[in-house]
Amino acid sequence: MKEAAPLAVQMRGIHKRFGAVKANVDVSLSVRAGTVHGLVGENGAGKSTLMSVLYGFYQADSGAIAVNGQEVDIRNADDAIALGIGMVHQHFMLVETLSALENVMLGAEPHWLLRRATAQLRGKLEALMQSTGLQVQLDALVADLAVGDRQRLEILKALYRGARVLILDEPTAVLTPQETLQLFEVLKGLRQQGTTIILITHKLKEVMALCDFVTVMRAGQVVQELPIAAATMESLAEAMVGRKVQMGRLDGDVHQAGEVLLSAQELELRDALQVLRLSNVSLELRAGEIVGIAGVSGNGQSELLDVLSGLLAPSKGELTICGQVFTPAHWLDPQTARKLGLAHVPEDRHARALVMDFCAWESAVLGYESLPSFSRGPWMRIDAMHQATVDMMERFDVRPRDTALLSSKFSGGNQQKLVLARELGQTPKVLLVGQPTRGVDIGAIEFIYSQLRAMRDAGCAVLLVSSELDEILALSDRVIVMNQGRIAGELDIADCTEAGLGLLMTGASQ
């Protein structure tokens, strides 16, 4: 640990308010040069605001910033870049129709003649790629690059512009586990070369694996700043949430499964280009069990959810739900599925589960608007819908309790709680859940887990699709691993190890 290293960034007494909301209250942050500094906290804790102040997006209401010991005034992103601060946003700032090289050059062309500029840049970038290990195909269009490549390109762009302090905002949110590991190797290399890295995240495992120091924020304030050696996952989680949280598997959590409620036989799905998305997928869901579908994202889990919920018809196979049989020619549709007692919490909250422009109460009845209790002839019973939403918000602690607020104005965790409240509210027999805690705060995750367990205990058959292995291990009674659209293996939870599942996920054991 480089205790004596000078401070690369020092922020003191930062205050920032938006209207009545105090986003940052007397926040101080000291980042030592050549370290990886984790900045953790729940959504809305003020991490992003603080980094936006450092990067010049926002002006602090009061407070001081020093970079490399010099008091500075950062009024915009250009100032920040000139001071050697670079930022990689969660949503990449790349032009998809330009090549990787052109993206790096954009706004920082070394010569007014394009040909000279690209030649100069290519030389510099190749040297940079060599020294950092950030390999990107420079002539490929960004549109053709994988997510991991795009992220490397963003980092490369920041470094090319002379970043000595690199801010990464939730860099692993979009990466597969393998890409995450690669990224961490690169970041470790950069640290070795003296680059300072500020890592904004809420994944504590990553903090423990990579960071030298960690700052925990809660409700706009810093609650802890300590070297990683002094931190544990549990203590960090507690500091973030403000109370003890139970994230792992409950002891003695073994369940006896009942009758088969959903059975899929030899599902096969081809997409519009005739590419095989699902192949020979057969599975059974029994009452009172949680079956986890593990796998690296993009190996058919999303398609499986869509097929089982009636959003997509497969090209082959058969599905039986509560005794009713469906074949590809007469496949299940979402309305029939709901009538049969099948509820679906989709993976994509924004595109599927909620209509973002709808008020909370309108989103809270989506898919259930024809229920007798919600309708009178062709009219909606708006009072009943409001009342149902109030009840949902009460039961699932959705904040703020404002039924007229637009769905898009709720935080990710509260949106997800609203969706769960809606889907669990009709006491389904079969529950399909995709990525239930993606982008959700730790406090809410704990609550969501307890709700899913409660459904299982009440005799519901739950299918859980998650790309978080920890989540699968914490909740499932049985785990199915998917790889390239096939079932790579099925294990009882007692036989699951992280290493074993990892091997199945990568298809290594085939």
């Binding site: 938006f18 209207g19 009545a20 909301v21 986003a23 936006s52 997006f57 926002y58 919920s309 009636g310 959003l311 549709d333 979402p334 309305q335 599925a337 709901r338 679906h344 989709p346 994509d348 595109a351 599927r352 589960a353 909620l354 209509v355 973002m356 422009d357 709808f358 309108e362 989506l366 898919g367 608007e369 024809s370 309708s375 062709p378 009219w379 909606m380 708006i382 898009s408 104005k409």
Partner: protein, 372 residues
């Protein structure tokens, strides 16, 4: 990167349009001054022409009636996620339907049967005319903006063809049909109010205004109180979420365009049944396009559309008066003023909104922004 923009509801619905209007008027005043006229004089003449006399007010309301129909038509399609540029053509076809019903039936049917038939025929024609682009959009993927524009041309050509070759009485040089029988005449406001014992000047204003107000209420109830409207808005806001909810987006596209076309088709009741009493050529006169501006300015809400229609009606009527009263002030200046209002209240709203939000934040006691 800008601070997330959020205005309180009242500011969004009332203050912002008012500011936009004020900016448009200010710019227009500048132009008026540039051509050597006195802005206050023109303004007074305009307001007086539109609202100063009962007769002027009647004309204003008469123009507004047509804009309400076309504005509502655009709004309903918009809530279904469709940009219906074809209000003009749907209004033309609707008027044709109204006119044909009157031509063939008015001699034999009394008014109480004739007028509803004309209304329904107009709505049906507009609806059918809008259904073709809707079908092409839903099942063949042809973009509704393109097809509805094309359908405007086809509609006006059909009307010309029918008037020239079939509907024009023999020996008549003017491009118009024969006069309808009196039973096909929607009572004018003067006549209707006279029944109630109220004296009202003669004007083209007729009972279509009541029809337009009822349409406003009906559209509100449909969109925000009925399950069908809920589904339509769900598809319009998020097709993927609607699919998840089990709503068939293709059906909703058909419904949205059919309702939209029916509303546009009601224009004929005002212009054909209420005023001309015969089928004529230019009875829509661009109102289908003005409807886009009206819907834009009225935030696609019936109440907003009501006010926006009133504003555009006033501009039409007041503008005509100004062109008449103020020497050297041509009708083109009025068109410019309309253009400025469309520009500032439609296209430039999001330029002005941050300024309004900034202004509000300076006021004490108003929390202008909610962090998203």
């Amino acid at each position: 990167m800008s601070v997330p923009l959020a205005l309180p509801r009242w500011a969004d619905l009332v203050l912002l349009p008012a500011v936009c209007l004020a900016v448009a008027l200010a710019v227009a005043a500048g132009v008026v001054a540039l051509v050597g006229q006195s802005p206050p004089e023109v303004m007074v003449a305009l307001v007086h022409g539109a609202f100063g006399t009962l007769r002027g007010l009647s004309y204003t309301l008469y123009y507004a009636t047509t804009f309400i129909f076309t504005g509502l038509a655009v709004a309903v399609a918009f809530h279904g996620g469709l940009f219906n540029i074809g209000g003009e053509g749907q209004a033309v076809m609707g008027g044709l339907g109204t006119g044909l019903a009157a031509l063939y039936l008015s001699a034999s049917l009394p008014a109480w049967a004739m007028l509803p038939i004309m209304l329904i025929a107009g709505m049906l024609f507009g609806m059918l005319w809008a259904s073709v682009p809707a079908y092409l959009q839903a099942y063949r993927g042809s973009h509704v903006v393109i097809t509805t524009i094309m359908f405007n041309f086809i509609a006006s050509s059909i009307l010309v063809y029918l008037l020239v070759n079939h509907l024009r009485p023999k020996g008549n040089m003017a491009l118009e049909s024969a006069l309808f029988a009196p039973s096909a005449k929607l009572p004018g406001m003067q006549q209707a109010l006279a029944w109630l014992g109220v004296e009202w000047p003669a004007s083209p204003l007729n009972l279509s205004l009541v029809l337009a107000l009822m349409a406003c209420v009906a559209v509100y109830l449909f969109l925000w109180r009925s399950r069908a409207g809920y589904r339509l808005r769900a598809v319009g806001s998020s097709a993927s979420a609607a699919q998840y909810a089990g709503i068939n987006a293709k059906h909703q596209t058909l419904i949205a365009m059919a309702v939209s076309g029916a509303l546009a088709g009601m224009v004929g009741m005002n212009e054909i049944a209420g005023v001309s009493g015969k089928l004529i050529l230019e009875f829509v006169g661009g109102a289908g396009f003005t409807g886009i501006a009206v819907a834009l300015m009225g935030r696609n809400h019936p109440v907003g559309i009501l006010f926006a229609s009133l504003l555009f009606g006033a501009l039409f009527q007041g503008g005509a008066e100004v062109a008449f009263d103020v020497p050297g002030f041509s009708r083109d200046m009025v068109v410019m003023l309309q253009g400025l209002i469309v520009l500032f209240s439609g296209a430039m709203t999001y330029v002005i909104a941050p300024l309004v939000a900034g202004g509000l934040r300076l006021l004490p006691g108003v929390s202008g922004a909610r962090r998203g």
